[in-house]
């Protein structure tokens, strides 16, 4: 019999602020972090994106000049989570870190102020390791846009099977950079205004940045959320284009539902990047899973696509949605825009909520579905 694993704490920094409860309040109030940004260090043309205001962390980190911008964000969120939940930093605490690109903004960048060696994710992780003095080695993973959700799954499995670990911190983060913006621009994936997930008139995604973390334990607290089931499958179809049948996501949802014991779902937190193909693929996978009528949102219009943080950030907001018994509307949605109808959440309704499904899909054909339930 496998041990149950619970999320017993969370923390996040986003352009809307530091604190997961604060972020939840902003989102239900309809605030978005996405604005027009004109910055030649990011792109030659103005873009719609969400960026964290640097002023938020000044003075909060010791020897802060030693750390890159992204490292400081990781440190801020970890420090806040560890302090709030009094997490021991001994060898029984596993730390899993998710990022798609880490410090890549330094790479060949004429304006960089750190050694280029720092672009390596393991080097970045070692700096964070040293700052906190974690006794067990941080486990970094990089798995495209499912990294954040996958890191929760990896930590859960290690807690279930590896008796060395009693608890886990799972943290994910990525920052905006010319590297990422130019790539998505070349992919013609960027919207020229606010993104509109699942809408008829969607024209692409907005990029964002965030660092988000959850605290996992085998011992539930009063307001713990149980990680009831996970499934993750590759489409085996195309390295950048989503499967037209949504096969990998469909299989992931099936497996997660089976493991969770086929619970009734109160809502779905979809990936919903607002690109034409992604949203259509998700609609097909959800229809095949018999979930077309389950209330659904994408949070990308609030934060943009935060890459390696997105799965974690959106899971955290889903958890706060459960705890507050309040649905988060899918910002940017007005008209059905997929071949399969979806039950989009358009109002911030108050009602009893017990469980939700979080999905994510990414380049490389990877997909993941995770089911969370109140204890």
């Amino acid at each position: 019999m496998k041990d149950d694993v619970f999320i017993v704490g969370d923390e996040a920094i986003t352009p809307l602020g530091l604190g997961s409860q604060l972020n939840f309040r902003h989102v239900v109030d309809g605030h978005t972090a996405v604005t027009e940004i004109s910055d030649l260090q990011l792109a030659d043309q103005p873009i719609y994106a969400a960026r964290i205001d640097e002023a938020h962390w000044v003075g909060n980190i010791k020897d802060e000049h030693r750390y890159t911008r992204l490292e400081k964000l990781f440190i801020l969120v970890l420090a806040s989570l560890i302090a709030e939940y009094e997490i021991p930093l001994d060898e029984r605490t596993l730390v899993v870190l998710a990022t798609t690109k880490g410090n890549v903004s330094l790479l060949h960048n004429p304006l960089r102020t750190f050694a280029e060696e720092r672009v390596h994710i393991s080097t970045m992780t070692n700096e964070i390791q040293r700052y906190f003095g974690f006794k067990s080695q941080i486990i970094p993973l990089s798995n495209a846009c499912i990294s954040g959700s996958l890191a929760i799954s990896v930590a859960r499995r290690l807690l279930q099977y590896d008796t060395r670990y009693k608890r886990a911190i799972v943290i994910g983060g990525d920052e905006l950079s010319k590297f990422i913006v130019s790539g998505f621009h070349a992919f013609q994936a960027l919207a020229d205004g606010h993104c509109r997930p699942f809408d008829r008139d969607r024209k692409g995604l907005n990029l964002g940045e965030a660092v988000a973390a959850v605290y996992l334990s085998k011992i539930p607290t009063n307001d713990a959320v149980w990680i009831a089931g996970v499934g993750s499958h590759n489409d085996a179809n195309h390295i950048s284009g989503p499967s037209r049948t949504g096969e990998g996501l469909y299989q992931s949802i099936q497996e997660a539902m089976q493991e969770a014991g086929e619970p009734a779902l109160d809502f779905i937190s979809a990936h919903g990047t607002a690109t034409s193909y992604n949203d259509e693929m998700e609609a097909i996978a959800l229809q095949r899973s018999g979930l077309s009528t389950t209330p659904l949102h994408s949070l990308k219009a609030y934060y943009g696509h935060t890459l390696g943080a997105s799965g974690l950030l959106e899971t955290i907001l889903g958890i706060h949605s459960l705890k507050n018994n309040r649905l988060i509307p899918s910002r940017g949605f007005m008209h059905q825009g997929t071949s399969q109808r979806l039950n989009m959440i358009t109002k911030s309704t108050q009602l009893p909520l017990n469980s939700f499904l979080k999905t994510a899909s990414g380049f490389g054909g990877c997909n993941i579905a995770t089911i969370f339930q109140k204890v």
Binding site: H120, R157, G183, A186
Partner: protein, 207 residues
């Protein structure tokens, strides 16, 4: 908490410009050959027709060749073959190429076909397409090959029943050299899947 004993059904080692499959030499060139040329020659030596190979970056190419060779020994792979890879440099070869392009002072350019390879897990996507693997993928980043972590994690994935077998290992490909050890772990026969065994295979000298 390992309940079952798992086995290394096949393994492939690429070090410098030498490829071994199950400990036997398959192909090698003098170490001074550029990595790109070495991988292309190794592909020709495989004698298969897969034009997509030429579009891949070095990381994908090396992994592709290793997975192809192991398929001949312990394949064809089942659909529920999971992929657990690791390296130090992530997708640094393509990252560097993309960054060079966008920071070029005379003619800055972002190439979509380079950018798509700036994620290490794209390699897992490539071999999933080639061998129709529809299971779980995880790409870890470590300073060096870490069987102490990978062995129990791989075993847990098999214990969990989520995968029937796992392609696992270390895939560090830089502009200078290849350092790859991939192995196919399952319930079939072969050397025992444990840390000591894998350290031995990783450190084994060329014959």
């Amino acid at each position: 908490m390992e309940k079952h004993q798992y086995h290394i059904q096949s393994y492939c080692r690429i070090r410098g410009c030498a490829i071994q499959i199950n400990g036997k030499p398959f192909f090698n060139l003098v170490p001074s050959v550029p990595i790109g040329d070495f991988l292309k020659s190794a592909y020709r030596h495989l004698n298969i027709d897969y034009p997509k190979f030429h579009k891949m970056d070095g990381l994908c190419k090396a992994i592709f060749i290793a997975v192809e060779l192991m398929a001949l020994e312990s394949g064809p792979y089942q659909r529920d073959t999971a992929l657990i890879f690791s390296n130090r440099s992530s997708s640094h070869l393509s990252d560097s190429r993309h960054a060079t392009g966008i920071f070029d002072t005379i003619n800055p350019v972002a190439s979509p076909s380079t950018f798509v390879y700036t994620l290490p897990n794209i390699a897992m996507g490539e071999i999933s397409i080639r061998h129709q693997l529809q299971s779980e993928n995880v790409f870890f980043i470590f300073d060096s090959y870490l069987p102490e972590f990978l062995v129990p994690f791989t075993a847990s994935m098999l214990e969990d029943g989520k995968a029937g077998s796992v392609l696992c290992g270390w895939t560090e490909i830089t502009a200078e050299t290849c350092d790859l050890l991939l192995y196919h772990v399952g319930i079939s026969t072969g050397p025992l899947h444990n840390v000591e065994q894998l350290k031995r295979l990783y450190n084994e000298e060329d014959e």
